[in-house]
């Protein structure tokens, strides 16, 4: 098994759905942050079979709800002096702009590209969002 050393100060984003680690990495633009980052892909998971993990040294300013949107089962551990001081299971944001896109080909957002893709959470349990314009419901994977 691959070993990645623990971080001293920073955050660990765990239980990322396998394959979504790189999406979170890119969304947070971690390659531009200048901090040490470990992106672990396809780690073994008792709960999910496989998962991705991101460890980020000296980094905290993240909107955790956005992470839940990108991969609904994520957990976040805040680490200080090599000790987990806080464990967070982020909730899905009530409103989302310009992160998910409406899949309805007849939605106005499919032709007027300056219009923000805006969604409202309608079903937290099943991660379902409703488009603000056409009302079509999108389920997060």
């Amino acid at each position: 098994m691959l070993e990645i050393t623990s971080i001293k100060n920073g955050i660990v984003i765990d239980h990322i759905e396998s394959g979504f680690g790189i999406k979170i990495f890119n969304y947070l633009k971690l390659d531009e942050e200048g901090c040490s980052v470990a992106l672990i892909i396809n780690a073994d998971s008792k709960k999910y079979g496989k998962k991705d993990i991101i460890k980020i040294e000296n980094y905290k300013n993240i909107d955790y709800t956005i992470l839940a949107l990108l991969s609904p089962k994520v957990t976040i551990c805040e680490v200080e002096n090599e000790v987990i001081v806080k464990k967070i299971t982020p909730k899905l944001p009530k409103k989302v702009d310009n992160i998910i896109k409406c899949k309805n080909p007849n939605c106005i957002t499919s032709v007027e590209n300056y219009v923000p893709h805006s969604f409202t959470l309608v079903d937290e349990e099943n991660a379902r969002y409703k488009c603000e314009y056409c009302d079509v419901i999108t389920k997060l994977s």
Partner: protein, 308 residues
């Protein structure tokens, strides 16, 4: 402080109390049109129709002219700068300089909502794709209110294409706000109501409903029968079409089984789903419904323009 511009994008933009005020006003205009014939003098309605419509556009234009106002607009976008690729937001910003109120029909769903974000004058959604058609719903509600004595306690049969018909979706949503209504949904299985209407509107609000395939099985129970056009190409195969096509045509034979005080509604235009012979039956209410549509649009424009 400047008053916030109000729009009508979907029927639920107005409370049931506000709707009742509109219906009362529409009836007052109907009984005394002269009193309201100068209410919108000096006002301009822009009718922006990105796809063809005869009935709705003429109804809006007649409504504004009967209020003493003027109209401008287009009935197909090919002869305008839209054909050159102008965005909806730019068109709306310009037209809201030229006019005091805008009625817009657009093929894309949610277009009216987007227009309302960029407009400094009231936007009325005159149909956005298969999504909403709120002024048709206002006409439907006024018809039911006036001819059935209220908007509660009705058994409403809705027949035809329930899957793609925006008027049907809006009507079910709107009527679900009133007490003790029951829906009987009559359509071939392939054209039954979308799942979100079942889950989000009917089941969520504990509204009684059943789904059946034939008018003749249920017509005797109905207080209202709301017919819609059903297109042959919507059927999955020819065999199904032939088996069911006559079940979606309302004729005098079927009308014989209907209650004496049942009303027959249709958003129009009809093709053959209501036989012409039914027009002479006193229960036929679809032309009255179109008339109510114009008066309720007059009331709506008076309210949105604040010229009470």
């Amino acid at each position: 402080m400047e008053k916030e511009t109000r729009h009508l994008i979907e029927p639920r933009d107005f409370t049931t109390e506000e709707l009742e005020e509109l219906f009362v006003l529409a009836n007052k205009i109907m009984s005394n049109p002269e009193e309201y014939s100068h209410k919108c003098e000096g006002k301009i309605l822009a009718t922006l129709f990105y796809e063809p419509s005869t009935r709705t556009r003429l109804s809006f234009e007649a409504a504004m002219m009967r209020l003493g106002g003027k109209i401008l607009g287009f009935s197909e976008p090919n002869s305008t700068s839209i054909a050159k690729g102008e965005s909806l937001s730019d068109t709306i910003k310009m037209v809201s300089i030229y006019s005091d109120i805008i009625a817009m029909r657009h093929p894309k769903e949610g277009a009216a909502k987007v227009a309302s974000l960029y407009s400094s004058v009231p936007i009325i959604n005159a149909g956005d794709g298969g999504h909403q058609h709120p002024t048709q719903t206002l006409a439907d509600l006024l018809t039911i209110r006036n001819l059935k004595g209220g908007l509660s306690n009705n058994v409403i049969g809705i027949c035809g294409d329930l899957k793609f018909g925006r008027t049907v979706h809006s009507l079910i949503k709107a009527m679900s706000r009133y007490k003790n209504n029951k829906f009987i949904l009559i359509s071939p299985k392939e054209l039954s109501i979308p799942q979100y209407i079942r889950e989000e509107v009917l089941e969520k609000n504990n509204i009684e409903y059943i789904e059946v395939e034939k008018i003749e099985d249920v017509i005797q129970e109905l207080d209202i029968i709301y017919m819609t056009r059903i297109q042959k190409e919507r059927f999955f195969n020819e065999e199904e079409y032939l088996r069911l096509k006559d079940s979606y045509i309302l004729d005098m034979e079927k009308m014989k089984s209907g209650k004496d005080d049942m009303i027959v509604m249709h958003p129009l235009p009809r093709v053959n789903e209501i036989s012409c012979e039914v027009d002479n039956d006193r229960r036929a209410s679809y032309f009255k419904q179109a008339e109510y549509g114009m008066y309720v649009r007059m009331a709506l424009m008076i309210k949105l323009l604040g010229v009470m």
